[in-house]
Amino acid sequence: MTTTKELWENALVELELTISKPNFNTWFKDTHITRIEDGVVYLGVPSQFARDWLSTKFHKDILRSLRGLSENIRAVEYVISRGPKKTAEEVVRTSAAAVSELPLEAVHQSTNLNPRFTLSSFVVGPFNELAHAAAQAVIRKPGIAYNPLFIYGPTGLGKTHLIQAVGNHFRQNAERKVYYVTTEKFSMDYVSALQSGKVQSFKEKYRQYDLLVMDDVQFLAGRDKIKEEFFHLFNYLHDNNKQLVFSSDQHPNVIQNLEDRLKSRFAAGMVVSITPPDHQSRLAIVRTKAAQHNVILPDEVLEYIATTVEGNVRELEGALNTLLIQFEMRGEPLELSDAKTLLRGMGSAIKKTVSVQEVVKTIANFYGVEENSIYEKTRRKEVVRPRQVIMFLLREDFRISFPTIGDKMGGRDHTTVIHSCEKIKNDLRSDSILNQELHQIRLMLK
């Protein structure tokens, strides 16, 4: 079984063979399956022209190719639908920006928050309960409890959900002004304010809020003017007891190219991390999400998803959605075996084994030193550090014993290895650049 998208793509491949190219390009552009119900395929087409023409000229071909792919399909209906929204293009305004815009949007978009994100739809587990509790405290006592609240963790674990939920709850009191902004948007705003000479109104705009929620602040790194503007904004809001909420993919102390004055300010309130969910939490998440879709999946299927798809919550949702679409299409319960075939390739259940040589090669490459020099008995500074990093990673990430590591590294003593690991471990506490490097190397080794 396949998803509706694949089903239609396969059908199009067949149709393309039977229909002339100009006809195919004209009429089948922008078509897609909107849904499948009781064996009826609802085909979304861009206009009434296309609907009338497809249904009179190509109906038989379409039905035949769809039936060839899935026997359950017995009819095709055509509906006019613009299709899945294309991702909005980034607009860089040029000369037109000289004229201000009519406030057509601002009226209903004053907070920039997505109302879908609330605390009630947030699944709490040991991996995020601290962050959740902190968020609740902020909602109860804004500006007093934890200011700023800084939430960090890897991608796809619900940081944005949580911080927007704070905003959404805060907003229920209509007198309080809330604004959610991504760091990217903040920077763009600032740049365009600079260009149009409206820095003052930019300042005023951001200083009026009682709660400012800012996403992905790690992107502030390296942008000096924007950091400075941000710094003043932060001070102003903080001094006036306005609540600030931030998210980032890293602890503020290890964000590169960030001044200490900002780091210390970020860390001044409450810094709390969200870690990848453990097995129990994943199971709870899958169950809640399935319930939100009004679908009850067998326990073993839920269990399977939670076991197979490790790590991030977004991937969990993706896996679940794949299954739900199948479920909708077929209208019969999913079995464990179906789930297994569908989710093949999705999970990372089998931890990839990486050979020592590979690790050495990757890290030597990363630091730009000869691979062979790692194994040699040289104590040149540029070789020693990579070698220590290699030993540290082999020990920490791959659980190889100290003597084996020593052996593989050109016959070194195990005490040398222990020393190296301790050294790197110690350096990691203070050296943010080393932290970054390790983060990148780990990504490369995945």
Partner: protein, 365 residues
């Protein structure tokens, strides 16, 4: 297929149809006009799949049939011939067009692939005088956005309430709204009529008088007037709720003569910079509005327009083109300008006519 008809009629129909053909189509048949002859009439059809047109003309039909010919070629030939009548005959795959002093043979296009023009059932409809509908669209159409980023702004909004039809368009820098009476049909939901297709409809309406019937459903809008049927897709989206941004009270009101204002703006454009910037100073003490444009490479100009002013002095900068645009929809002798000072939109109205207004945002430099 063979028929004879009056040159003028055929030329008129072809000239209208040819604007609907798609010149760079994937499908060659979309670049052509479909002619079908039967029972004393010839029907011409053309479409670019965004909108389509169908025109019936009277003809002496000597042999029934259907043919598709490249629109540009047929139009090019017909627009240059002399004489009163023309005879058209299909011979094999070639269409022979014979006029008094010229004869042409045109290669035809296989017509089997020519699409069906969508029909809209008459269930939901309204009608208006063609001149009214034309005025409504023309008064606002130039404000529609040309950028594809917000498709809903590439449209002319049409809706009806209490026996009146309202048309509005905006590109988010300026906005125009015009209200005209409806003949039949009191309430019409918001229809987002693509501005390009609306402009084509205006050109059709220019040539005819009488009532125009408009049929619509969720996706399509069709108009019927005389022998011309025109159909267009509608844009799927929500038009911004623009009524709530129209200011209710103003700090300054000025009345000026439309002609003075138009002449001043026209000559100011000579000295305008690349943003067409025009600065507007309302001076109650001098009973005048001062308009200035300045281009460092050319020079500058100051024009004084006499005005009756109530309220405070105000000074703002505008894109001069945006101001001039508003005047094309105003036919009265004087224009009323309402302002709330810098940074706030300027409202322009016909002093004697409440059915139109224009809102322009100032420049922020």
């Amino acid at each position: 297929m063979k028929f004879e008809c009056i040159v003028e009629q055929l030329l008129g129909a072809v000239a209208t149809s040819v604007r609907f053909v798609e010149r760079r189509a994937n499908l060659p048949v979309l670049g052509s006009i479909l002619l079908s002859a039967d029972g004393g009439r010839v029907i011409l059809r053309a479409t670019n799949l965004e909108c389509g047109v169908e025109i019936t003309i009277a003809a002496k039909v000597l042999g029934e049939g259907v043919v598709a010919v490249p629109g540009a070629i047929l139009y090019g030939f017909l627009s240059n011939i002399k004489g009163k009548t023309v005879s058209v005959e299909l011979k094999g795959e070639v269409l022979k067009v014979e006029a008094e002093r010229a004869t042409a043979s045109m290669k035809t296009v296989p017509h089997e692939d020519f699409p069906i023009l969508p029909r809209v059932s008459a269930e939901r409809s309204f009608s208006a005088k063609s001149s009214d509908l034309m005025r409504a669209i023309r008064s606002v159409g130039y404000c529609a956005s040309t950028s594809a980023i917000k498709p809903e702004l590439q449209s002319v909004l049409l809706f009806g309430e209490a026996g009146k039809l309202t048309a509005a368009a905006t590109d988010s820098f300026r906005l125009a709204e015009k209200t005209v009476p409806l003949r039949v049909g009191g309430s019409v939901p918001q229809l987002l009529f693509p501005a390009r297709n609306a402009a084509e409809l205006v050109r059709i309406l220019e040539g005819v008088s009488g009532d125009v019937e408009v049929y619509y459903n969720d996706n399509q809008l069709s108009t019927h007037i005389g022998e011309v049927y025109c159909t267009s897709r509608l844009i799927d989206g929500a038009f911004p709720n623009y009524r709530q941004i129209i200011p209710k009270s103003f700090s300054t009101e000025a009345v000026i003569l439309r002609e003075d204002f138009a002449a001043a703006l026209k000559s100011l454009s000579i000295f305008a910079d690349k943003f067409s910037q025009v600065s507007l100073q309302i001076e109650p003490a001098k009973k005048a509005i001062l308009l200035t444009s300045r281009n460092p490479d050319v020079g500058e100009q100051v024009s004084t327009v006499r005005a009756t002013i109530q309220g405070d002095a105000a000074a703002m900068n505008f894109n001069g083109r945006y101001l001039a645009d508003s005047l094309q929809a105003i036919s009265g002798e004087s224009v009323r300008i309402h302002s709330n000072g810098p940074g706030k939109p300027l409202l322009i109205k016909d002093a004697a006519d409440e059915s139109f207004f224009y809102l322009a945002m100032p420049m922020n430099r």
